[in-house]
């Protein structure tokens, strides 16, 4: 069993959990993910590893409550355990030979962007972090990012935190000011990654995105996570989750991610009602 060591509410819909999983902690690298299940009827959901502590033997996950599983997860407390916690899955993010990088994070995607920024900073790369949220109460990991960034730019849709605007506005301003990046790493909602890629393509800057499609096993078995990259079908779970953003077919990825939206909503409502009844 995988014990919850720490639980921290980061904002009204986003929670951080530290899970006891020493074997995974020993192998985990930024960019990789885990698959968890809360209970015997639970769905298997993938979550990217937000941090890990090899000494303590813990893996940190940060999740947004969107469906039944994350709702159930959020009702667990410190000391309780997850039924299943499998990983580390997927290939690690490539950070070698990157001297100067812009790390772009959107919303809960910052949870995934953070360990990559941390690794880059630790290896001596120059890190410019551009993070965006809808508004101030949703901002997460500000201190963490500031500690591993040479430049930290906070953007919000409504201007209540940092500057008003989109992450693409900030990135464009930096590129226009003559900043030269070896790579842009963009992690966030599909639509954000799509627009970051459209921008960087114009500027000819290599861009890596982290994809988080629907999957079941996470080992290449179901093929549910397939996406088109440069006209080829790839499995995000084993070939990714990082891909060259300029080659990803975002329209298709967005369509596929909405496959079970109605069922997800229904299942979430069902889970919420269940918890209400329990109360």
């Amino acid at each position: 069993m995988f014990k919850i060591i720490k639980k921290e509410i980061l904002n009204p819909t986003v929670t951080l959990m530290e899970i006891e999983a020493p074997l995974i902690a020993k192998k985990a690298e930024p960019g990789q993910f885990i698959i968890l299940r809360t209970d015997v009827n639970g769905e298997r959901i993938p979550l990217t590893i937000a941090d890990f502590d090899r000494e303590k033997g813990t893996v940190t996950i940060i999740y947004q409550i969107v469906g039944a599983t994350t709702e159930k997860l959020n009702h667990l407390s410190v000391g309780e355990s997850l039924l299943d916690f499998t990983g580390p899955l997927g290939t690690a993010s490539h950070t070698e030979n990157l001297k100067k990088v812009a790390v772009v994070g959107g919303g809960v995607g910052c949870a995934i962007a953070y360990p990559i920024a941390k690794k880059l900073y630790a290896q001596g790369s120059t890190v410019h972090s551009i993070v965006g949220f809808r508004s101030s109460e949703l901002v997460i990991l500000q201190n963490e990012f500031e500690n591993v960034s040479d430049k930290y730019i906070l953007m919000s849709d409504d201007g209540t935190a940092g500057e008003k605007g989109l992450v693409t506005d900030a990135l464009k301003a930096l590129l226009d000011a003559g900043e030269k990046y070896d790579e842009v790493i963009a992690i966030g909602p599909l639509v954000m990654m799509k627009f970051v890629c459209a921008l960087t393509k114009e500027y000819g800057v290599k861009t890596v995105v982290s994809m988080n499609p629907i999957m079941i096993d996470g080992t290449g078995m179901c093929g549910g996570c397939r996406l088109s990259v440069g006209g080829e079908t790839k499995f995000a779970c084993v070939d990714g989750p990082d891909f060259d953003g300029h080659l990803v077919d975002f329209a298709e990825a967005m369509a596929r991610s909405a496959m079970y939206k109605p069922q997800e909503r229904e299942a979430h409502e069902k889970a919420c009602n269940l918890f209400k009844e329990v109360k």
Binding site: L23, F85, T86, I216, G220, G224, V238, A255, A271
Partner: protein
């Protein structure tokens, strides 16, 4: 005096129009009366031709003789001398091309229903067994098994019986491999798989789930942990697609994904959180047992029309004859000599149809089957909202890519000695679909068993 009836006792089954709406087992099993009547058909041939058709070498005439004495537990013990999963094999083995193929009674009439007898004996044991099998005395040696499918479980069982401390590592949250994620409940109840695994645990086998070897631990680290030999039975899990337009539309599944959602995740139960599309009209592409399973699941999930689209004719269908018959009875429509060329989508990216061409059979190809060729101008569209691709799988590269010196075929199969399962790495053995590509449960079990023998020999030689 043997029962000289030319026909085998018919297997009682749920009525097709009832069973195609539920997930309960289709074949309900022989009664004791039927079992005794059927067992009496065995001529107890001295040279036991049936045994040479069994990949794990069960002493078939001996266990049937025990049935004739009404010693069902004795019959069970005879079977388990050679097989670790009798209740599974009695259900899913293609007996018609193995033991029963060589049965003398089959020369004139139908062969003895060996599989059905095996199933009865195993079920009877599982229902009545109260005491755990005796745990063998530990011989001080350790072996690791990667994958808890048929080959891994068999290998584990064989080694445990010889006193090895065996740990099975399973990537998913539940042990059983294809027996739990692939083969549906109505053909192989999961309770039965669970029971067989429980029996192995009673023999001392440890099962560790949620362990993706190649990720959390490498094969080399298993040796570092003190395992003296490693068996790789990681199966052929990677689904193939046709590479035709529209394959990434919503509503296109690999058979693996579809079956996993249904069988492992139980998406058809209201209490399960795992979603599955509520499809009305489904096309399953392919003609193997997996395609049949997927089609029958789709029907049970409530689809009105289910098609099996297969590019060759009925004679070439690779699925078991019995399964093909069941499929037909359940109202599933065969679209034979048809091949998809494109999957069509609506404006929201969901499947709206499948474009096919008609085929005709030409000259035999390398597989010996007549090669299908496209009939000119035969294009047509089938109105479907779900397409399940069941055109094969290939071995998972996870272990190969993380195990230095482990040689594989170009298509990904691990290169292993046909007799011993020995790979290019010392102390590492492999078997089942990971070596052969997608095949049957019993062949994988045969390989697991052979590898167990070789691993035993290897470890004992080193001592």
């Amino acid at each position: 005096m043997p029962n000289m009836s030319l026909k085998k006792n018919e297997m009682p089954t749920q009525q097709p129009e009832i069973r195609n709406k539920n997930f309960a087992e289709v074949a309900t099993g022989y009664s004791e009366e039927q079992v005794l009547d059927e067992a009496a058909r065995c001529l107890a041939c001295k040279n036991k031709p049936c045994v040479k058709g069994c990949p794990v070498g069960i002493d078939i005439t001996a266990f049937i003789a025990k049935i004739n004495e009404k010693d069902y537990e004795g019959a069970y013990q005879k079977i388990t001398e050679q097989s670790s999963l009798p209740a599974v094999c009695g259900r899913v083995c293609p007996q018609e091309s193995q033991c029963e193929k060589f049965c003398v009674r089959g020369v004139k009439g139908e062969s003895v229903a060996i599989g059905r007898l095996e199933r009865f004996v195993a079920d009877r044991h599982n229902e009545n067994a109260t005491e755990a099998p005796e745990k063998p005395i530990h011989n001080g040696h350790r072996a690791a098994i990667i994958g808890s499918g048929p080959s891994g479980l068999t290998c584990a069982g064989e080694l445990a019986k010889r006193g090895y401390e065996v740990t099975v590592f399973e990537a998913l949250h539940l042990a059983g491999g294809v027996l739990v994620y692939g083969i549906p409940e109505f053909r192989l109840p999961k309770k039965i798989v669970g029971k067989e695994i429980e029996t192995l645990k009673q023999l001392g086998v440890k099962v560790e789930t949620d362990m993706v070897i190649g990720k959390i631990l490498s094969v080399d680290e298993l040796f570092d942990q003190g395992f003296e030999a490693v068996f790789i039975g990681s199966g052929a899990g990677l689904p193939s697609f046709m590479n035709i337009p529209g394959e990434n539309l919503k509503g296109v599944y690999s058979a693996n994904e579809f079956l996993t959602r249904v069988n492992l995740m139980k998406a058809y139960l209201p209490e399960s959180d795992t979603p599955i599309q509520q499809a009305k009209r489904v096309a399953v592409v392919g003609g193997g047992n997996v395609a049949m399973d997927a089609a029958r699941c789709a029907k049970r999930l409530g689809a009105e029309e289910v098609y099996i689209v297969y590019r060759r004719s009925l004679d070439e269908l690779p699925a078991r004859k019995e399964e093909v018959e069941h499929v037909g009875e359940e109202g599933i429509i065969f679209k034979l000599l048809n091949n998809p060329t494109e999957i069509l989508g609506d404006q929201n990216g969901f499947v709206s149809g499948i474009r096919c061409v008609e085929m005709e059979l030409g000259e035999p190809d390398a597989s010996g089957r007549r090669r299908p060729v496209v009939k000119k101008g035969s294009e047509f569209e089938l109105d479907v909202d779900c397409v399940i691709m069941s055109i094969g799988t290939s071995p998972n590269p996870l272990i190969k890519s993380t195990t230095e010196g482990l040689e594989t075929q170009k298509w990904g199969g691990i290169i292993a000695d046909e007799v011993t399962g020995q790979t290019s790495r010392e102390g590492v053995f492999a078997g089942g679909d990971a070596v052969t590509g997608a095949a049957t449960v019993i062949l994988a079990m045969g390989a697991g068993k052979a590898a167990a023998n070789a691993m035993d020999e290897y470890i004992q030689k080193k001592v």
